[in-house]
Symmetry: C2
Subunit: 295 residues, 2 copies
């Protein structure tokens, strides 16, 4: 496991691929953005002109693209799957609905390659620090073989199951909680703002009570600013809670709280605020309740 093809050098993929280079892997990266390729080469990576070129002779192909459609385009459209040697490992690390992952896995395995469903959590900060959580579903021997590569990008590596789609399910469930936790903090603050209490004291009390969450502590302070620095955008949760709800549809499972939370992110994006920090989902509450105006 020495030669790695890496497709998708975006805000997550670029630091992940760079970390692999720094750990001594021979990484061939590809992306449609020339600046990303340039940055990757400056860090010691090799640029490939196409996904098929990157995949040629690689032991594994890592996909950190935007969604399942892009993964299919790289694998089946751009010919990366055919270019991989027999028995090579395809790792789908993007956030995708479990059903889509299952279908991609079938096609990959039908072509004589192996498949790992391995989404990550930890954001760009975790990708840069090499401290990602990686939730991998695949057969145990495949997991054992690919684990050194995961160790090059993450700190908490879990073998969550042996079937493709199980990793994606873990990620969907994780994002369900993350997205709802942000939206419900917004709902709580919006109520408090309407009644008229000191929101800074409220944040302090709740951060130390049974009401606390990782998101309350992380997003809470930014939520109280009218135009905070963007750590992660509203549109990320439009997408990720969308995948959560797609998962519910695939599996015919009612997810009433996630559905409501999604509406609040969706409405914010629809007002043209999709690139704002995701804490600004609170503006949907301000808008609907006619309280503090969006800044």
């Amino acid at each position: 496991m020495k030669k790695i093809a890496f497709a998708g050098l975006g805000s997550m993929g670029l630091p992940m691929a760079k970390n692999l280079v720094s750990k001594g892997f021979n990484v061939q990266g590809c992306d449609t953005n020339p600046k990303a390729l340039e940055s990757f080469c400056a860090a010691g990576g090799t640029a490939a002109a196409t996904a098929a070129e990157a995949a040629t002779g690689a032991d594994a192909l890592l996909l950190m693209v935007v969604n399942a459609a892009q993964a299919e385009a790289v694998l089946f459209g751009a010919g990366a799957l055919d270019a991989l040697p027999a028995n090579a490992i395809v790792c789908l690390m993007a956030t995708c609905p479990p059903g889509s992952v299952e279908k991609i896995a079938e096609r990959v395995e039908a072509a004589g390659k192996r498949f790992v469903d391995a989404p990550v959590s930890g954001g760009t900060a975790g990708a840069t620090a090499g401290s990602l959580t990686i939730m991998a579903a695949t057969a145990t021997p495949v997991f054992d073989e690919i684990k050194p590569v995961f160790d090059g990008m993450g700190q908490r590596i879990f073998h969550v199951g042996d079937k493709a789609g199980q990793g994606a399910t873990f990620k969907a469930v994780n994002q369900l909680l993350c997205g709802v936790h942000i939206a419900v903090v917004a709902e709580a603050f919006a109520l408090a703002a309407k009644v008229g209490v000191n929101l800074d004291i409220l944040l302090e009390i709740m951060s130390g009570s049974a009401a606390s969450s990782w998101m309350l502590k992380d997003r809470g302070p930014r939520m109280l600013k009218s135009d905070p620095e963007v750590s992660s955008a509203v549109d990320i949760f439009v997408k990720d809670l969308g995948i959560v709800l797609d998962t519910g549809r695939e599996k015919k499972t009612a997810l009433p709280i996630a559905a409501v939370a999604h509406q609040m992110f969706l409405a914010a994006s629809g007002r043209g605020e999709g690139l704002a920090d995701d804490s600004q989902v609170i503006r949907s509450y301000y808008a609907v309740n006619g309280t503090r105006k969006p800044a």
Copy 2:
């Protein structure tokens, strides 16, 4: 501030009143439950036959009753307010909607007494340990006067505002987050159970990720049992999220996520499971999705 009347010696009030006794306060307790009075006397408290008797000559009257209606019954119906000396302090510590608290405060102050809106959080464990969080709204001189009494029952004492109703708002917002956090963990686990992944690994991963919450860590393990020990009952959140939604109605504020979460607790109670541990709100998800049967 030496002589305290204490109305409501239930699962919260009894340990709170006992803690005051152990701190050297002269506490006259009243409750309709003779066993509670007996236990209180055994701990050094004094039993009063009526709320008016308890209030006679007291520097402060603490109300730890079930709801606003009981507080009104004690104060106005049973004559405790009239029995209090002029300028005595009435502390309403039960969870009540802010609007009800405002109305009670007006009547108390019109009768020449002072009022503190001071709900608590921390549950029976915090009440017993004397480690409650107390969120007090009242004028600063009144807060300073009553604070030694609060110090006898809690560890985190906050002066959250100077208007009656502001303490109740803090409590409502706190309970909004607590109740939704429990319900959304249930929603997430129910999806994972439907897809079929290992829920123990899921709990471990999410407890250490951005998806984490105090409730995930506390209720999560009990949620994975079919009939866990009752730490706090489903019906508590039927009541408390009900107060949250009453607060939204009073203030004409949309609380869509809290409303959905309330439905899931309400349905559990309606199936006859109101006395089960609140983690068992997950059975509402199992029921609606036709997955694992309620135990």
